[in-house]
């Protein structure tokens, strides 16, 4: 019986936000709380000669100022490497810079004061004497022999390298009828969650308990990190993640400032609050991407893809992020290349370089937008070379829908995908022939429109081996405790967390269906290590697929328990009973006893039950994905743009996506995940970029200068679905959180290049700014006049 799975249930917890009753860490005030402000390095690379805090210490309201010697001793350093990344290096990191400053914004001192304003007053008076050193800003230069070290504690500037290849890749290129090439640059951008990072660490010396209110997506991971790095027993550490104002992967990394808040609270025995201001967010939140990729693709005369070869250089900052590393994105880039296509041969090379900038690491759709943009740009060039229509070349090369299971040239195992169905559906939605006719007539009026498409594969439901094999303490399993209350209402405490994607709503839907109740009768608790079982929480793309399955299985265990109890109460074989409409019904559908009645008896009159019967109406269940290492999803996106060739401005007119995330638990929430994801793909395609100058200064680190996508510039997004459930789970759901981001930029770039095609201009760098578009047009003009 499926009543609520598949329904567009609204989010109950949204009501609180609509009423202004959200509870974010940044809203919380605790007695005796101190406010932390960090003094940061104004330069990208240098040696600390002196930090003079005497004047600042005398400021009104200042309670304490820490520099590295007093604070770092409380914390064991962290190292951002993983065992399965052979040969990877990253120097240890601790809270405050000890001798060397490694990026602009590297924290060097921590001020604790009674108010944020007073802490800022004092920060202005801290005197820093830092000897300037030559920063390493360019990753390619960093890897040349004799380059200065970005981080003097590293062997060299190579953080990690890897090669992935099939045996016949060189032969494939030699024998190819067509070889197309590209060289692409993907700018740095960052998450810009609307609520900045926020933490309140509260150490109670009398009980030895540390409570951390932390705006994170992974509370259990931080419980483990805080316990281990501060020498506390795990049972004394509680992490509470209440409402979180956006995370997108950015809020699962270990940051100097959060560790500093914990250390300071341990030392002072008072709650310590740190909320990043927006400028600090740009200087301390992880950045994303920063890849330079060379790629080529071999095709036969019919336009069949034979092989791809790519070389990815990614530049990750002065240390690798902890605990997931800054190499994971590059690793995913080289593995996702060509993923939608039946491509037998492949070689991917990855070099990860240190430099003196903010560290990069996982952010929504890790690696996907890069792999997708490179692949789809090459497919577009291949279409030109073979004179095939963009839909046609994809139809020829996308893995056939009946050809599964399939192993990609990079070793990914696909259980079942639906590329061809998605392509056909997108064709129907976009009507490219009509678009083309319209564009031809508009061109005569000087209006230059173009459309582009991009197929993608998304990695979801990662199995326990993904990080586990490398030794990271990152959980891929999740846990749920489901119980029936005396009233017959249901409560589920679960380890997957909510940042607005609707986790609690879909969990309620799934549990409701197992127990024959409406979702309104299911309350869900998330985000507190003291009240929910341990699990992976929110990372990669797993809330629905893994969290949903966990809830389903826990719900079924409780169902069985209830039915056994009911069988004893109504003298029937439990196997002949089921749960429906809040009651136990028999084979004829007749209600035999209500949940409420069972709850009453089990709670208040267990003495009336037969001896030995288990009346505990609470069950716990943990679930770790088995079967395929990942449940891949797939889809395709289309973008329609208009380029003003005189100004380089682009209007994004429309966006389409056909997506297959397996079983859809809640269409309303799935579609809004996709829309939000698409816009997070279009932002960096056109606007978002962390710009650095040659000295390693971030020159646009404010919300006025770093351009986030806003309502006027973003299009309406039309969505369609194909549903191919995974057989790995009972529920059949895969993930959807990253699908939109994965291919939006690739489709948009193909669209811009379609609009520019008559001019012979082509964009190969994101974001596609007016300046870059004008430069591309000029370069094409020069090539035409001066061949």
């Amino acid at each position: 019986m499926t009543l609520h799975i598949g329904q567009s249930a609204r989010r109950e917890n949204a009501r609180r936000h609509l009423a202004g009753r959200g509870r974010f860490v940044s809203d919380l005030t605790l007695p005796r709380m101190l406010h932390a402000v960090f003094v940061r390095s104004p330069m990208a690379r240098g040696r600390i000669l002196e930090i003079d805090t005497s004047e600042a210490s005398a400021c009104p309201g200042v309670v304490r100022i820490f520099t590295a010697p007093e604070l770092n001793v409380r914390c064991t350093p962290w190292v951002g490497t993983l065992g399965h990344f052979a040969g990877m290096q990253s120097p240890p990191m601790n809270i405050l810079a000890e001798e060397e400053v490694l990026w602009t914004g590297h924290p060097v001192a921590m001020i604790l004061a009674r108010s944020r304003a007073e802490a800022e007053d004092a920060a202005e008076l801290v005197m820093l004497d830092i000897e300037d050193a030559e920063p390493v800003t360019d990753g390619a230069a960093a890897l040349r022999p004799g380059a200065p070290l970005a981080n003097p504690a590293a062997r060299d500037n190579l953080c990690y390298e890897a090669v992935l290849e099939t045996a016949d890749v060189d032969a494939a290129f030699v024998g190819a009828a067509h070889v197309v090439e590209t060289s692409m640059t993907f700018g740095r951008h960052t998450a810009v969650t609307l609520e900045p990072r926020a933490v309140i660490a509260d150490f109670d010396a009398s009980s030895g308990a540390l409570t951390v209110h932390h705006g994170t997506q992974t509370p259990y991971q931080f419980q483990d990190v805080y316990a281990r790095h501060f020498g506390l027993s795990e049972g004394k550490v509680r992490v509470i993640a209440p409402d979180v104002g956006g995370s997108f992967g950015m809020k699962l990394h270990v940051y100097n400032e959060e560790m500093g808040a914990v250390a300071a609270s341990l030392i002072l025995g008072r709650p310590v609050r740190y909320v990043a201001d927006r400028l600090e967010s740009f200087l301390s939140d992880i950045h994303a991407r920063d890849h330079i990729v060379k790629g080529r693709m071999a095709l036969d005369a019919d336009g069949t893809i034979l092989a791809m070869e790519v070389d990815d250089l990614t530049q990750v900052g002065a240390v690798s992020a902890y605990p997931r590393t800054s190499a994971a994105e590059g690793n995913q880039v080289i593995r996702l290349m060509g993923a939608p296509y039946r491509m037998p041969d492949y070689r991917g090379r990855l070099s990860v370089a240190f430099q003196n900038k903010v560290q990069t690491s996982q952010y929504r759709a890790v690696g996907h937008p890069i792999a997708c943009a490179v692949t789809e740009a090459l497919v577009e060039r291949a279409a030109e070379a073979t004179e095939l229509d963009p839909f046609e070349i994809r139809a020829r090369n996308l893995i056939a829908d009946d050809a599964y299971p399939h192993v990609s040239a990079t070793g990914y195992q696909f259980e079942k995908l639906s590329h061809q169905a998605c392509l056909a559906k997108l064709h129907e939605m976009m009507d490219p022939e009509a678009l083309r006719a319209e564009h031809a007539s508009l061109r005569k009026q000087g209006i230059h429109r173009g459309f582009g498409i991009a197929s993608f594969v998304e990695i979801t439901n990662p199995g326990a081996a993904f990080y586990g094999v490398g030794g990271a303490r990152i959980s891929a399993q999740d846990g749920a405790v489901v119980r029936m209350m005396p009233s017959g209402d249901i409560h589920c405490a679960i380890s997957v967390t909510e940042q607005g994607q609707g986790t609690e709503t879909i969990i309620a839907q799934v549990v409701a269906d197992q127990l024959g109740v409406t979702p309104e009768r299911v309350s869900v608790t998330t985000g507190d290590t003291a009240t929910t079982p341990s699990g992976g929480a929110t990372w990669a793309c797993r809330g629905a697929g893994i969290g949903g399955e966990t809830a389903l299985r826990a719900g079924r265990r409780l169902r069985d328990r209830i039915l056994t109890l009911a069988g004893a109460l109504v003298q029937a074989d439990p196997a002949s009973l089921r749960l429906e409409n809040g009651a136990v019904v028999d084979g004829s559908g007749a209600a035999r006893i209500t949940l409420e009645e069972i709850g009453r008896i089990a709670t208040y009159r267990p003495d009336t039950l037969p001896d030995g019967i288990d009346h505990s109406l609470t069950v716990a269940h943990h679930f770790a994905p088995t079967g395929y290492p990942f449940d891949f999803t797939n889809g395709i996106q289309g973008s329609l743009v208009e380029v003003d060739v005189e100004t380089g401005l682009v209007r994004i007119l429309k966006h389409w996506i056909v997506e297959d995330c397996g079983r859809i638990i809640n269409p309303l929430l799935v579609d809004e995940q996709i829309r939000g994801g698409v816009v997070q793909g279009l932002g960096p395609a056109f606007f978002e970029e962390c710009q650095y100058d040659a000295d390693g200064q971030l020159t646009n680190g404010s919300l006025a200068d770093y351009l986030v996508p806003m309502a006027c510039e973003m299009p309406d997004i039309e969505i369609a679905h194909i549903e191919t459930p995974t057989g790995d789970t009972i529920l059949g759901a895969k993930g959807v959180g990253e699908a939109g981001t994965a291919a939006a930029g690739a489709a948009a770039m193909n669209a811009v290049n379609d609009a520019l095609r008559p001019f012979g201009a082509r964009l190969t760098q994101t974001p596609m700014t007016p300046l870059r578009i004008l430069d591309a047009l000029d370069a094409a003009r020069e090539e035409r006049t001066d061949p």
């Binding site: 944020r116 400028l279 351009l707 300046l771 004008l774």
Partner: protein, 298 residues
């Protein structure tokens, strides 16, 4: 706001301490200002003062709130001119029928100034006194050939817009002098106006902007007034472009001459994010578009 000067280390969002005083008259404002010995700022909308203090780019010891002073308020027509009080909020500029009729460039500029909520607080007086070269109103005021009314302890004076914007964030106002109003000469019915800007996103400061007006007499342009903004340290009167237009009919040819002449008018500063040649190129494109769409007041 001097974003170029934005310190990048972060840790700055709260204002430093200062004394806040509310002036009820111009005399009181001047007295409070001189008492602070130059270490004071007037506060009108506060939408530049407050963020720049929060970023600790400025730290005056005293803010003098001038929003209650009667002389700074109201929009009226008298003695052949439209008078716009300095405290007129951007949203009022946008909606005011007198401004729409007599100073349409301001009404056309207003929707480009920031976002709706900022327009509810920002004032035209504060905007002009700040003299941000990327700002819309200064260019519009310049193109309108308006006069700035200033009042100080030494009396009242009218400063031609041409003489008002001296350098980056620098105006002809004397220390302590209040900008009280803008006077716009009433235009003839037939005058043509045009305003537009190129911005990356709606409400962003422009990459380049143009405000222009012109009279047509006997089929030819007379007294063209063309200003550009976001092209230098002040809004710029494009005099060579004006000359290229004056005396000729408004036609693709005269517009092309005006576009070509911009090279003499503009010397955009070297911005690594947007090189001067490109800014000039965009200025030409935009000027062409604005001139070819000039319209009289409806």
């Amino acid at each position: 706001m001097q974003l170029e000067e934005l310190r990048t280390e972060g840790g700055k969002v709260k204002l430093p301490s200062f004394e806040y005083l509310r002036a009820r008259s111009m005399e009181e404002a001047w007295a409070l200002h001189s008492e602070a010995g130059g270490d004071a700022l007037y506060l009108s909308g506060g939408h530049s003062v407050v963020p720049s203090m929060a970023l600790r780019l400025q730290a005056p010891s005293r803010l003098i709130d001038i929003s209650q002073i009667a002389e700074l308020r109201g929009v009226s027509v008298a003695e052949g001119a439209l008078r716009i009080g300095a405290m007129t909020r951007h949203a009022e500029v946008l909606a005011d029928p007198l401004i729409a009729h007599h100073a349409p460039l301001l009404s056309q500029a207003a929707p480009h100034v920031a976002h709706p909520a900022i327009r509810n607080r920002g004032t035209i007086g504060g905007n002009l006194a700040l003299a941000d070269p990327a700002s819309e109103f200064p260019a519009a005021v310049l193109a309108l050939r308006a006069e700035i009314e200033a009042n100080g302890p030494d009396g009242r004076r009218l400063i031609a817009a041409d003489d008002f914007f001296l350098d980056l964030y620098e105006t002809a106002l004397a220390p302590g002098e209040l900008l009280t109003a803008i006077h716009v000469p009433l235009p003839p019915e037939s005058r043509l106006f045009g305003f537009d800007e190129i911005a990356r996103r709606r409400g962003d400061y422009a990459m380049v902007g143009v405000a222009a007006q012109a009279d047509v007499a006997g089929g030819v342009i007379a007294g063209a007034s063309v200003t550009l903004f976001s092209v230098g340290f002040t809004p710029v009167r494009a005099r060579a472009a004006e000359q290229a237009l004056d005396g000729a009919p408004l036609s693709p040819e005269s517009i092309a001459r005006a576009q070509a002449a911009l090279a003499q008018d503009l010397d955009p500063p070297d911005d690594p994010g947007f090189p001067p040649e490109r800014r000039l190129q965009l200025a030409r494109v935009l000027l062409g578009r604005v001139l070819s769409r000039m319209e009289p007041v409806k």
